[in-house]
C-alpha cells in the first residue's frame, strides 16, 4: 500500500526528515512513536503534500503511484487522510457544506455523480452515529470554537465520511479524557477493514491499548531507529526514550 524509501525533507533549509524508510501493507496498523520534535508531524505533513516542506530526496509509492507527484487534494482523493494534530478552524463554513464539498470532490475524482441531498444527509447521520459525534458540533462552522477534544472527534468524523485507504492520525489522543479516547479509538476500530491501513502517531502507550498496532516504530531525529511488535510501546512507556538514544550511540 505505502512504501517510503530514504525520504528527506526540510523546512527553510533545515533538514527535519533524514532518511525515513517505511513499508505498510493493506489492513495493517502501524504506530509511530518518538519524542517531541522528532519529525512525526513533519512526516505526516509531507505524506499529505504540505508545500511548506521541501522533499529533497527519496520516494514514496502509494498504491503503485508516485505520491510526491500528486497535488495535496489529489492525494486526499486517492485515499490518504490526515487527522491533524492541531485541526484548523474555518469560520463561516458549515461542517455540512464543507463535508458535502469534500465528499463530492472525492466522488467526482472516481467518476461518480454528486450525492443527492437526501443521500448525503443519510450518510452524515450514519457516520455521526458511528463516531458518536453530536449534531450540535456538525451544525457549526468547521472546528470554530471547538474544544481540543471536540476537534479530534471531528477529525474522526471526517475520516468516517471520506473512508480513506490510509489514515494518518497525528496525536489524535492528545487532549482527550479517557471517555473521549475510548470513543475516538472505537470509531477508528469500527472503520477498519482488511483493505485499509492506519498510521497512529502518538506519544503515549495509552491509545495503543484501544487501537492495537501490528508494528511499532520509533522515530528519532528524523529517522526510524527501531521497529518491533506492539510490546515495544510498553517498553517505551516504562523506560522513556533515553535508552534508545544510548543504544544508538553504542
Amino acid at each position: 500500500m505505502l512504501s517510503i524509501k530514504d525520504l528527506h525533507a526540510s523546512i527553510n533549509g533545515k533538514e527535519i526528515l533524514k532518511g525515513v524508510n517505511l513499508e505498510i501493507k493493506p489492513g495493517e496498523v502501524h504506530a509511530i512513536m518518538g519524542p517531541n520534535g522528532a519529525g512525526k508531524s513533519t512526516l505526516a505533513a509531507v505524506l499529505a503534500g504540505r508545500e511548506l516542506f521541501e522533499v529533497t530526496k527519496g520516494e514514496v509509492i502509494f498504491e503503485g503511484k508516485d505520491l510526491l507527484d500528486l497535488a495535496p487534494e489529489d492525494r486526499a482523493r486517492e485515499g490518504i487522510f490526515l487527522g491533524f494534530q492541531y485541526p484548523i478552524e474555518i469560520p463561516g463554513v458549515s461542517t455540512v457544506n464543507f463535508m458535502k464539498t469534500a465528499v463530492n470532490e472525492h466522488r467526482k475524482y472516481k467518476g461518480l455523480e454528486p450525492l443527492k441531498a437526501s443521500d448525503f444527509l443519510k450518510l452524515m447521520r450514519d457516520k455521526k452515529a458511528l463516531v458518536e459525534i453530536d449534531s450540535k458540533l456538525t451544525n457549526r462552522s468547521v472546528n470554530e470554537g471547538f474544544s481540543g477534544g471536540e476537534k479530534k472527534k471531528n477529525e474522526i468524523f471526517q475520516m468516517a465520511m471520506l473512508e480513506p485507504k490510509l489514515a494518518i492520525l497525528d496525536e489524535t489522543d492528545s487532549g482527550l479524557d479517557i471517555d473521549a479516547l475510548r470513543v475516538v479509538a472505537n470509531g477508528v476500530n469500527k472503520l477498519k477493514t482488511p483493505e485499509n491501513s492506519t498510521i497512529v502517531i502518538t506519544h503515549y502507550q495509552r491509545l495503543l491499548d484501544y487501537i492495537v498496532p501490528d508494528v511499532v516504530h520509533v522515530l528519532f531525529d528524523g529517522r526510524i531507529v527501531k521497529t518491533a511488535g506492539k510490546e515495544l510501546a510498553l517498553e517505551l512507556e516504562a523506560k522513556g526514550y533515553d535508552w534508545i538514544k544510548e543504544e544508538l550511540v553504542k
Partner: protein, 483 residues
Amino acid sequence: MAKEEQDKILDEVTQSDYKYGFSSDIDTDSIAKGLNEDVIRLISSKKNEPEFMLEFRLNAYRHWLTLKMPEWAHLDIPPIDYQEIIFYAAPVQKAKLESMDDVDPEIRATFDKLGIPLDEQKLLSNVAVDVVMDSSSVKTTFKEVLAEKGIIFCSFSDAVQDHPDLIQKYMGSVVSYRDNFFAALNSAVFSDGSFVYIPKGVRCPMELSTYFRINAENTGQFERTLIVCEDESYVSYLEGCTAPMRDENQLHAAIVEIIVKDNSEVKYSTVQNWYPGNKEGLGGIYNFVTKRGICEGVNSKLMWAQVETGSAVTWKYPSSILKGDGSSSEFYSVAVTNHHQQADTGTKMIHIGNNTKSTIISKGISAGKSNNSYRGLVKVVKNCEGARNFSQCDSLLLGDKCGAHTYPYLEVHNKSAKVEHEATTSKIGEDQIFYCNQRGISTEDAIGLIVNGYAKEVINKMPMEFAVEAQKLLAISLEGSVG
C-alpha cells in the same frame, strides 16, 4: 440557499475570467466626444426634454466647472480628460417598443448572455427589469402588472415625459447637483436610468431590478435612479452592472436618490460587476457613485445591501439620512478587490430624528496588489435623542501585497447616543487552504468556500436569486488570487 446551488456555483467558478467581457455589435447613436453647453443642449433635445430639465442640466454643468475632482479618497487615479469621453450613446432602435419581440435581437442576445430575465417566461420569476445599455433604457418589463397597483417603474426618460411633476418635485432633492464633483457631472449629462414610484399603502409584489450595461467604446455612463415610497409602502429594488473588456478606462458616474415616507420600507441591493481591468491593471471602469436615501417619515426603513466585485476604481458611499423619528437604516456590504483594483467605499448614517437606529456591516476582501478602504461616517446631530448605531468592519486579506484600511468617523453631538464600532482583520491562512486540500478540495474551491462563508451575513440579506449571482461573482473575482 440550497447547498446544491452553492456546489454548482463553485463548479462553474473554476473556469472563467471576467465572463461578462463580450461586446455587442449594435448600431449606436452617439454624439461627438467632449463636453460643453452645446453637448448638454444636444442631449436634452435628443431626449425631447421639457425646459426645466435643460435648466437643471445647465445649472449643474456651470457648477461643475467650478469644482475639482476630490482627492481625499484613498485612491490613485490618473487625471481624466473629459474632452475625450462621449457623453451620449444609445442603441438605435426603430420605433417605440410595445412588446418584447420588438427588442433588437442583438440587444436581446446580449442580455441573454448576461442571464437577465428579459424573456416572457422569466417574468414568472417575479422580477421586473429595466435595462439600461450605454445611456439609454432599452426595455422595462412588467409595466402593466405594476400599473394596476399604481406603481410606476420605468426608465428615467419615460418618467420625464410621462410624470414630469414627480421628477421636478423629487429629482435633486436628496442629492443636489451641488453635492460633489461627480454629482454635478451626472446632473449635467445623465442620459437615463430608472424611476420607481410606490403609492401610499402599496407593497410592491415583486422585486424591481435594473441592469446597467456599458457597451460602446469611449463612452461614459451617467445614469440616475429615483425611488419614491409614499406612506405605508414597500419595495425591494436591485441593480446589476456589467461592461465589456476594453483596454481604456471608462467612466461611470451615477446618482441614486431614495425617499422613504412614514412607515415605509425600501431595500436596495446592488451587485456591481463592472469590468475591473486585466491582471496587469489595464482598462476597467472608473466607478464614482453618489447614492443617498432619506428616511423622511416616522418609522421608515432603508436597507442597503451590496456586493461589489468590479471596477478598476470604486468610489462609493451609500448614505442614509434618518430624519423621521424611529426611522432606521442598515448597510450590508461586501467589497472585493483583486489584482490592481482600488476601492474606497463605505457609508454615512446621519441621525436627525429621535430614536433612530443604524447598523453597518462591512466586509472587505482584498487580494493581489489591490487596495480596499472602508470609510464610514456616523453622525448624530445635537437635537437627536436616543440614537443607536452598531458598526462592524471586517477585512479579509489574501496574500501580503494587498491592503485594507478602515476609516471610521464619528460625529456625535448628543450624549444620549449609543455608538459601537468593532473591526477585525483576518487572513485566509495557508493552513486553512491546506486543511481543505487535505479533504480533497482544490485551492480555488477552498477560497470560494471560505470567502462565501465570510460574506454570508451580507449575502443573506439579498433577494435569493441575486444572492446566487453574488456568490458566483465572489468566487470568480478571486480566481488566481493565491499562490
